[in-house]
């Protein structure tokens, strides 16, 4: 009979017992209620996560098709098969869709929604109705964006710089309104997560035991609520410029176009941290599980997420070095951009140190994470290069920048997202996908990605501008290699979607904890039960302690029911005991 150590933060003692999960749960959240209407009106965070997964897959495919269109057009230096104006619309939509409809929601809306409450030991997020509203706002914004594509399109680039965006034809107002609506979706998710993390942690779950995935989502949500409103007002102002000729950003009306850029990038730079920080959280979870080792430097990783969130708000001017910004501002922004690389570097070292002398299991999630290490490091270091003003003057608006941000966003974030999907898929659907195919797809994605984007660094440093429909002959071989790579990349993603969908219908049923992790979400059955827990879980260790027996992570309050009753959660006065 092992005795449980009382948490240092526990202010009262409780009686606990072990709740061993069944391996496969027949009455789970997927079949608890049947029919499409039950899905469309669900308040279950897990189902909302799945709804988001479906929407985001469609968005990703749409954005991906646009990318392939761009790459095909760039096969030859002159026009290949698309008009110049259409080309401008393609890259604008590729960027807008991938960023606003895919990357910004991605991990928080899909994996965060699904896993966060479970990791906290909660039955749901704090505001389930807001959560559902958040998905509907996403769908509404997406519909408005699709409408704007069909109603004339936009060719301003995803950055909507004024005065072009405030004066050009096309459906700019509609598209920006679509983004405005999606912004609210993002804000509501942030509100929900911060409240849930603060107010709904299970007994014993003090901040020093919070999973790093939750820390990542916490930092992300802070950025979401502080930055997104500024984007909202900026978009509103562009709309007002177009409709009323307000003149804040248009020099012809007395305004300042650089002011637009300040407001836009005040959101859009922190937005890239919204996109990547949840991915960092996933990496921490996977590294620990697949090295079967306690994470190295827990507080360093946790606090570095917050540091990135904070410093990330102070660097936006590095997008504006050549816009006419004052030199003083440029120098300050450049220096702060160097600083923001440090907390990320700290994470990298901590992750690698976690793997050192660990018991490594090269399953698909870990393969994606290893790919992430290489690709994100390249992306991050090239970001530091771009932060150097003297270098940026030459590289701004070239393919070097394009390659940099694809390395961090695709090589970093999408790889992390894939890692998370492959990791948590058994918990979400109770099935295991074909692991051989998964590894092949991972390999294709990694190779395809490098073939697509490494040549772009070289092209860019030789002067190939971004967003250009035509180019000079010397760049043709680079472009062609890149295009070949993009199709390999596409095949890899299609494969992944295919075996995932196949697994939902024909996959082999899996066990509660196929990876042997200590984290809380693996201590409940697969697929998850409708209310996550039938007991009130009690956490007495952090989630990365592989020295402790699995039973220590399956503890819950000794009481009937799962803590819904107010009376039962009132003062309980017993010595803490663990029983097998």
């Amino acid at each position: 009979m092992a005795s449980a150590e009382a948490s240092s933060n526990l202010s009262k003692k409780v009686q606990v017992q072990r709740y061993k999960p069944v391996e496969y749960l027949k009455d789970n959240y997927l079949n608890a209620e049947k029919g499409i209407w039950s899905w469309l009106t669900t308040l279950d965070h897990k189902r909302i996560g799945i709804l988001y997964l479906m929407s985001l897959t469609v968005a990703f495919l749409l954005g991906g098709v646009m990318a392939l269109g761009i790459r095909m057009e760039l096969w030859t230096p002159a026009q290949t098969f698309i008009e110049a104006d259409t080309y401008n619309q393609l890259f604008t939509l590729h960027g807008s869709i991938m960023i606003f409809l895919f990357l910004v929601p991605s991990v928080p809306a899909v994996l965060g929604n699904f896993i966060l409450p479970i990791q906290l030991g909660a039955k749901d997020v704090a505001f389930p109705r807001l959560n559902l509203l958040s998905w509907y706002l996403y769908m509404a914004g997406a519909a408005i964006s699709i409408y704007s594509i069909l109603a004339g399109g936009i060719d301003t680039g995803w950055t909507f710089y004024t005065p072009y965006s405030s004066s050009t034809g096309g459906a700019v107002t509609a598209m920006t309104f679509g983004v405005f609506v999606i912004g609210f979706s993002s804000i509501l998710t942030g509100v929900n997560f911060i409240t849930t993390i603060h107010k709904m942690r299970a007994p014993g779950l003090s901040w020093d035991k919070l999973p790093l995935f939750c820390w990542g989502l916490y930092a992300t949500s802070i950025i979401q609520i502080l930055a997104t409103p500024v984007l909202a007002i900026t978009i509103l102002l562009v709309g007002m410029e177009r409709i009323l000729g307000i003149g804040i950003f248009d020099p012809a009306l007395g305004g300042d176009p650089i002011l637009y850029q300040h407001f836009f990038w005040f959101y859009s730079h922190p937005a890239v941290y919204i996109m990547i920080v949840p991915g960092f959280g996933i990496v921490s979870e996977i590294i620990s599980t697949f090295s079967r080792k306690t994470i190295f430097g827990y507080w360093a990783i946790a606090l570095s997420s917050l540091a990135i969130a904070f410093i990330g708000f102070l660097v936006w001017g590095h997008h504006m070095f050549v816009s006419g910004q004052a030199s003083l501002a440029s120098m300050v922004f450049s220096f702060l951009t160097f600083l923001v690389g440090i907390p990320t570097g700290i994470k990298m070292f901590n992750w690698l140190s976690t793997m050192y002398k660990g018991s490594i299991k090269l399953d698909t999630p870990l393969l994606y994470v290893l790919g992430f290490f290489f690709l994100f490091t390249v992306g991050g270091l090239t970001g530091i290069a771009l932060a150097t003003i003297a270098i940026d003057v030459h590289l701004h608006d070239t393919y070097y920048v394009v390659a940099h941000f694809h390395f961090v966003m695709v090589g970093g974030m999408v790889m992390a997202f894939m890692a998370g999907l492959h990791y948590w898929w058994p918990k979400m659907f109770g099935v295991m996908y074909n692991q051989t195919l998964a590894k092949i797809a991972c390999f294709l994605i990694f190779v395809g990605f490098n073939v697509t984007f490494l040549p772009q660094f070289v092209m860019g440093s030789q002067g190939m501008p971004r967003r250009y429909f035509n180019y000079i002959d010397q760049f043709q071989s680079f472009h062609q290699i890149s295009t070949v790579g993009s199709f390999i990349l596409g095949i890899g993603f299609i494969m992944a979607i295919a075996y995932f969908i196949h697994s939902i219908f024909y996959g082999k049923k899996t066990v509660a904890n196929p990876w042997g992790s200590r984290a809380t979400e693996w201590q409940i059955p697969s697929p998850a039960p409708p209310h996550n827990f039938e007991h009130t879980p009690v956490m007495i260790h952090g989630p990365y302690d592989y020295h402790k027996p699995m039973a220590d992570f399956q503890l819950g309050l000794v009481q009937s029911g799962n803590g819904h009753d107010a009376e039962h959660s009132a003062k309980i006065d017993k010595k803490a005991e663990a029983e097998n």
Binding site: P117, A122, K123, D124, V125, A126, F127, P128, L130, I187, G190, V191, N192, I194, T195, H198, K199, M200, I225, L226, A227, T228, P229, V230, A232, I233, T234, L236, L237, M240, E241, L244, G245, I246, G247, I248, L253, G254, G255, D256, L259, F263, P530, H531, E534, G561, N562, G563, H564, D565, A566, E567, S569
Partner: protein, 218 residues
């Protein structure tokens, strides 16, 4: 095994994922404060634009501000402060189980909000009469500054956005009156009143800053 039938052991307003009424109230208030943070950053963008332009063209702001009526701006400020008082009273009435007073206090708040909008309406129409329109429709000759349209664009944007928030607040409070008339609120449960009150106080605070920034420039 759902515990949805456990209404007997706790109030029916407690949602299933909360442990008790206190946790739910706490979470709602906390969530509302986070939303208010987003509202502050939302308006804040406009305040930032204001500060940038005023720092560039201080003389414009001094000149153009004379077209705004300080008296009516001041009256509106007092009106909103009064409405903040009455909404706080409405919450107090709920906390003390005085159902009729909830409705009376909410009603006064709504009435004061209407007064605010009526005064705003007259301010706007007076400006329209002399040609002060927003943006490219600006047609007033009385200010000797090339960028006069920018001042009034900012004025219309900021007071307009604020006005929209007042109207939203009116709508929310009318809904609250309806629910209060159906006995939805008492000392056990008055969360919607509390969080709407917080929203309304923020609307008041924003005006507290808008008033000197537009009406009291010299």
């Amino acid at each position: 095994m759902a515990n949805h039938s456990s209404a007997k052991s706790h109030a029916s307003h407690v949602q299933h994922h909360f442990v008790d009424s206190d946790q739910q109230f706490d979470a709602a208030k906390f969530g509302m404060w986070i939303f208010l943070v987003t509202e502050i950053l939302f308006f804040g963008g406009l305040f930032a634009a204001y500060i940038v332009y005023r720092a560039w063209y201080p003389e414009l702001f001094t000149l153009a501000s004379e077209e705004l009526n300080t008296l009516w701006g001041g009256v509106n400020t007092l009106v909103l402060i009064g409405s903040s008082l009455t909404v706080a009273m409405a919450i107090k009435s709920a906390q003390q189980n005085q159902k009729k007073n909830i409705i009376i206090n909410l009603g006064i708040t709504i009435a004061l909000a209407f007064v605010f909008m009526v005064i705003k309406y007259f301010e706007y129409t007076h400006k329209f009469e002399i040609g002060i329109f927003p943006g490219q429709f600006y047609a007033f000759e009385g200010i000797d500054h090339a960028k006069a349209n920018i001042f009034f664009s900012l004025y219309y944007l900021m007071t307009g956005l604020h006005g929209i928030h007042v109207i939203i607040g009116i709508g929310l409070m009318i809904w609250l009156v309806k629910k209060a008339a159906n006995n939805a609120y008492d000392s056990e449960y008055y969360t919607p009143l509390e969080i709407t009150g917080l929203y309304w106080h923020l609307v008041d605070i924003i005006w507290i800053f808008l008033f000197p920034l537009f009406y009291l420039i010299d």
